[in-house]
């Protein structure tokens, strides 16, 4: 490409990066090197090629970034087309990551987006280590936590001092309807996702006794069909597939019967779909807003041309335009980014293993999903409980009703816990108060 054309194309970015200004970060040095770094060396990983991911790839490409990779395990669905603008009707069923990367590379000459059509968990730490900045645009909290823990696990400490060169900044965005949020995380230095888990409200669940005995809402009827009637009647000889219209129709009809029977109003096909697939409303504009804010932050971190958001921003568009930023605080006992040993406070060692696991699952400080526990007792590893492998679950189930004392655990014992929210294990110790 003609040098001069390229020079002119980048004129806006050059003004920002080659001129000094009174509001720049003190360590910013205006020079053509910044833009050269963005275009040649700066490697960005975009996690998720959905509503936010598509926008992010476009924004980054037009902010001068050329070396990008994108990872997403999903394929394109019809319902994505109202906002995921790199996809067309003919792309339905194809990989989001592959399709998005190709579109960007075709539209913007010199852009080099590499797609990865797989789960984030399929990649080794070595993969994540190669990036300068990671931009996360996911709707799953578990996946978000996993990436966060991956980045904290890559931190290097020398004599308890954090090696700053091992820090990979994480910019994380999320949207729901007309609302969104955005945070800038320097793992090990500033608060991480796990530091403030309470910012993510737990998913609404309905107690079984309500849906079975005292249903009041259409949602109760749908949940009942999902958790009781479907397994009992097994109409299609398989699990529920939220994308199969036959499945949704069956659930719609059964829950409609139930709603009619109880005199419950307001059940619609759309509601059934929403409950079964746990659908989050989404619209192009909110994704555009949050994704572009994320990319401005990536640009600032990569070039130091301006101070970064410090460190959390919430946004809502329902009543005028509302933005609010504040400094979330680091949790010194954070499961993920604190360098200290994680302690689980207990009243006594008489606590049963089942109760201990429930603490790990439901206590706000931990919120693990399916913890498997191994204890280090006199130098040997003893598997106490494994939830997600059926054969091991059966072998270890009897331990659930034993107390920690009976299992040989003391204040000294290292408890190694694996969980789907993190790529590597946690080491816990119990702390008996008295």
């Amino acid at each position: 490409m003609d040098e001069e054309n390229l020079h002119r194309k980048l004129s806006s970015l050059r003004k920002i990066l080659e001129r000094s200004g009174p509001f720049c970060r003190p360590d910013f040095e205006p020079s053509p090197e910044s833009l050269k770094f963005l275009m040649q060396n700066c490697k960005i990983l975009v996690v998720g090629a959905g509503g936010l991911g598509c926008e992010c790839l476009k924004n980054l490409a037009l902010m001068g970034f050329r070396q990008m990779e994108v990872i997403d395990m999903d394929v394109i669905d019809l319902s994505n087309l109202n906002r995921q603008f790199l996809f067309r009707h003919k792309d339905i069923g194809k990989s989001k990551a592959v399709t998005a990367a190709k579109f960007i590379n075709d539209r913007i000459p010199g852009c080099n987006v590499t797609p990865h059509f797989c789960r984030i968990q399929d990649k080794e730490p070595e993969f994540y280590k190669q990036f300068h900045i990671i931009l996360c645009g996911l709707d799953s909290i578990i996946a978000r936590r996993w990436i966060n823990s991956m980045l904290t696990s890559l931190l290097v400490y020398n004599d308890d001092q954090l090696d700053v060169s091992s820090v990979i900044p994480l910019i994380d965005g999320g949207t729901e309807g007309f609302k969104g949020n955005l945070r800038v995380i320097l793992p090990g230095l500033t608060p991480c996702i796990e530091c403030s888990l309470d910012l993510y409200p737990p998913q609404i669940t309905y107690p079984l006794c309500t849906i079975a005995n005292t249903p009041r809402l259409p949602e109760h009827c749908i949940e009942y069909v999902k958790v009781v009637q479907w397994p009992r009647e097994n109409p299609f000889d398989c699990c529920i597939d939220g994308d199969d219209p036959q499945h949704i129709t069956w659930i719609y009809e059964k829950s409609n019967d139930r709603a009619l029977h109880f005199g419950i109003r307001g059940l619609t096909y759309r509601l059934v779909q929403g409950v079964i697939k746990n659908i989050i409303p989404a619209v192009a504009s909110t994704n555009a807003i949050i994704a572009s804010m994320c990319c401005t932050e990536v640009f600032k971190v990569a070039t130091s041309c301006s101070a970064s958001l410090n460190n959390y921003m919430v946004f809502s568009n329902t009543d005028g335009i509302y933005t609010f930023s504040y400094e979330a605080e680091k949790n010194e006992n954070c499961l993920s980014c604190s360098h200290s040993i994680k302690e689980v406070p207990l009243k006594s060692l008489d606590v049963k293993l089942k109760e201990f696991i429930d603490i790990l699952k439901y206590d706000n400080a931990f919120q693990l999903k399916n913890p498997s526990i191994t204890a280090k007792i006199s130098g040997k590893n003893k598997t106490l409980y494994v939830e997600n492998i059926a054969s091991l679950e059966e072998q270890t189930r009897q331990n659930l009703s034993k107390s920690l004392f009976e299992l040989g655990i003391s204040n000294q014992t290292d408890l190694i816990v694996a969980d789907s929210t993190a790529p590597s294990t946690f080491t816990f110790k119990v702390k008996v108060s008295d």
């Binding site: 490409m1 054309n5 390229l6 002119r8 194309k9 004129s11 806006s12 970015l13 003004k15 920002i16 001129r19 200004g21 009174p22 926008e55 924004n59 037009l62 902010m63 019809l78 319902s79 087309l81 109202n82 906002r83 603008f85 067309r88 009707h89 309807g177 007309f178 005995n213 005292t214 009041r216 129709t249 409609n256 019967d257 029977h261 109003r265 096909y269 759309r270 779909q273 929403g274 659908i279 989050i280 409303p281 989404a282 619209v283 192009a284 504009s285 909110t286 555009a288 807003i289 994704a291 572009s292 804010m293 401005t296 921003m313 568009n317 329902t318 005028g320 335009i321 933005t323 609010f324």
Partner: protein, 539 residues
């Protein structure tokens, strides 16, 4: 089963494609969107980013007005241009590439600047639902804003320079029925139960219930019963002060059943009642904002041009003064609460039935008004009245100002500017800078700092523009030199990610205007990408 389940609705391809947004503005919002025709002036990066967020959700049609030929600088910041488009009409290429995203949308373009069109075809704008103008020079923006103000067509003017964005909406009057508040208030009428509700309450005797029924009675009923008890001791009023409410909560706590050893049992419904004391025991009134709307001149004095919003508002006003007995129509919904199915559903039924009766009354009054106004009786469908009644306590009317007035020091809201500038955190300073940049462009025909070798001299010139402006407004020298330097550093740079943010924001405001759902910003929003936040002003 009493009646067979209705056949599942066959979902159209369209409703599946738009499913995620239909959950936000529903089918009737989508229908409005699909019948809208939007005009975009200037398809720069900001302009196409706005259009992207309107084409994707499926607006009916758009027209792009842009007389520019594509330059390298455009290609570098605008996603809806490609390397082949150099030298071509910017209107044409962007129209083409925008349309690729959604085959439901129609689009055309005019390869001319807005100035020519305003001069040569003054009627051109008459039929648009909304006009969006990007980076428009001061003089033509003033003309356009007057024109659209006269035509009563909403205008959104916006631009970005460097890390700063500016959105200005201009609309004479905008009315919203569905504002979608974050915390919807329920309409329980504990202080003023309508007849059927009172009858329902009276038929229930908490004391004689067995434990199972007692702990499965909706808290609404519990609150009513204890309110009666309260009144029998203290007279007519509900508990008002903190101390009174606390005492009322004590009464509720004492009402929880106990076991043989006199230990209170766990009754979740009573716990809910105790929690609800603060929110549910306030008197039922017409909210002040709604009262204002019902007393508005447009409501009281209907005429042949009155919109259905105001006609139904008048019907509601008449309802409040007559069968409503001072209150709005009953909403007819009940939040979920601990209860068994029968007790919950039968209570819900009572509210729902009353809501139906109230809708009927308002509907009758609406028809009567339509007759008086000489309008056909089908010009307002009953379902609109129903929706209106359901949301009557959340109505919103916004009145704006004409952008052109901002450029007349006598009409500009200088107070807002001066007061905001007193706060060092306020982004009003950006607005002043942008207006200074306007003046600069008007005088020198370039952005300050546009050329590398002119940055220093432009700082001096821009400073002079700002002083002049502040002089015209009668303000002191309130803007720090740092900002003048910063804007000259920008040199009119359009950063793609900043334009994408402002584009998304502006598009969302457009969607609000078109669907008449959610409250738009009124009327100026300044975005600061350095802090990633913004401020709203009324100018």
């Amino acid at each position: 089963m009493a009646s067979p389940a209705p056949k599942s609705p066959e979902q159209s391809e369209k409703s599946r494609k738009y499913d995620r947004q239909l959950r936000l503005w529903n089918d009737h919002g989508q229908a409005l969107l699909e019948s809208a025709h939007i005009c975009l002036i200037n398809a720069n990066a900001l302009g196409t980013e706005i259009m992207k967020s309107l084409v994707l959700p499926g607006i009916g049609a758009f027209t792009i007005i842009d007389g520019h030929k594509v330059k390298d600088e455009d290609i570098g910041s605008n996603f809806f241009l490609d390397s082949d488009s150099l030298g071509k009409s910017r209107a044409q290429v962007t129209t083409q590439l925008l349309l690729e995203m959604n085959s439901d949308v129609r689009g055309d373009f005019i390869d001319e600047g807005p100035e020519q069109i305003l001069n040569n075809s003054p009627d051109f704008f008459n039929n648009f639902s909304l006009v969006i103008a990007c980076a428009m020079p001061e003089k033509s923006l003033v003309v356009l804003s007057r024109k659209l103000w006269e035509l009563d067509i909403p205008l959104i003017a916006c631009r970005t320079i460097g890390f700063v964005g500016h959105i200005r909406v201009q609309v004479k009057e905008h009315t919203v029925v569905e504002t979608h508040p974050d915390n919807e208030k329920s309409d329980l009428r504990l202080d003023k139960p309508f007849e059927a509700l009172k009858k329902h309450f009276d038929a229930i005797d908490l004391e004689s219930m067995d434990l199972k029924d007692h702990s499965h009675t909706p808290y609404v009923i519990i609150l009513y019963k204890y309110l009666e008890k309260w009144r029998s001791t203290y007279g007519g009023d509900m508990p008002k002060t903190y101390a009174e409410k606390e005492e009322f909560r004590q009464m509720l706590r004492a009402g929880i059943r106990k076991d043989e050893e006199n230990v209170p049992l766990s009754e979740e419904n009573f716990e809910e009642a105790i929690k609800a004391v603060n929110t549910c025991l306030s008197p039922t009134i017409v909210p002040s904002g709604v009262k204002e709307i019902l007393n508005d001149n447009n409501c009281v004095n209907l005429n042949s041009k009155s919109t259905s919003f105001w006609i139904i508002a008048k019907a509601i006003r008449d309802f409040v003064e007559n069968e409503g007995d001072g209150l709005l129509p009953q909403k007819g919904s009940l939040p979920d609460m601990v209860a068994d199915t029968e007790k919950f559903v039968s209570l819900q039924q009572v509210y729902h039935k009353q809501a139906g009766l109230d809708v009927e009354a308002v509907w009758r009054r609406t028809l009567q008004l339509l007759r008086q106004l000489g309008k056909p009786s089908d010009s307002i469908p009953e379902k609109d009245v129903k929706l209106y009644c359901r949301h009557a306590s959340e109505l919103c009317v916004q009145r704006g100002t004409c952008i052109a007035d901002e450029y007349d020091p006598k009409l500009l809201n200088v107070n807002e500017i001066v007061e905001s500038l007193e706060n060092p955190e306020s982004f009003m300073v950006h607005y002043v800078m942008l207006r200074g940049v306007d003046k600069f462009i008007d005088e020198y025909n370039t952005y300050p700092g546009e050329f590398d070798d002119h940055v220093e001299p432009d700082i001096v010139k821009l400073k002079a523009c700002i002083s002049k402006l502040l002089g015209e407004w009668g303000c002191g020298p309130v803007v720090k030199d740092d900002y003048v330097h910063e804007f000259c550093r920008y040199g009119g740079a359009e950063l793609h990610s900043v334009s994408a943010t402002v584009g998304g924001l502006a598009a969302q405001e457009a969607v609000k205007f078109i669907t008449h759902q959610y409250k738009p910003v009124n009327n100026t929003f300044i975005f600061d990408a350095v802090s990633c936040t913004g401020n709203t002003f009324f100018l």
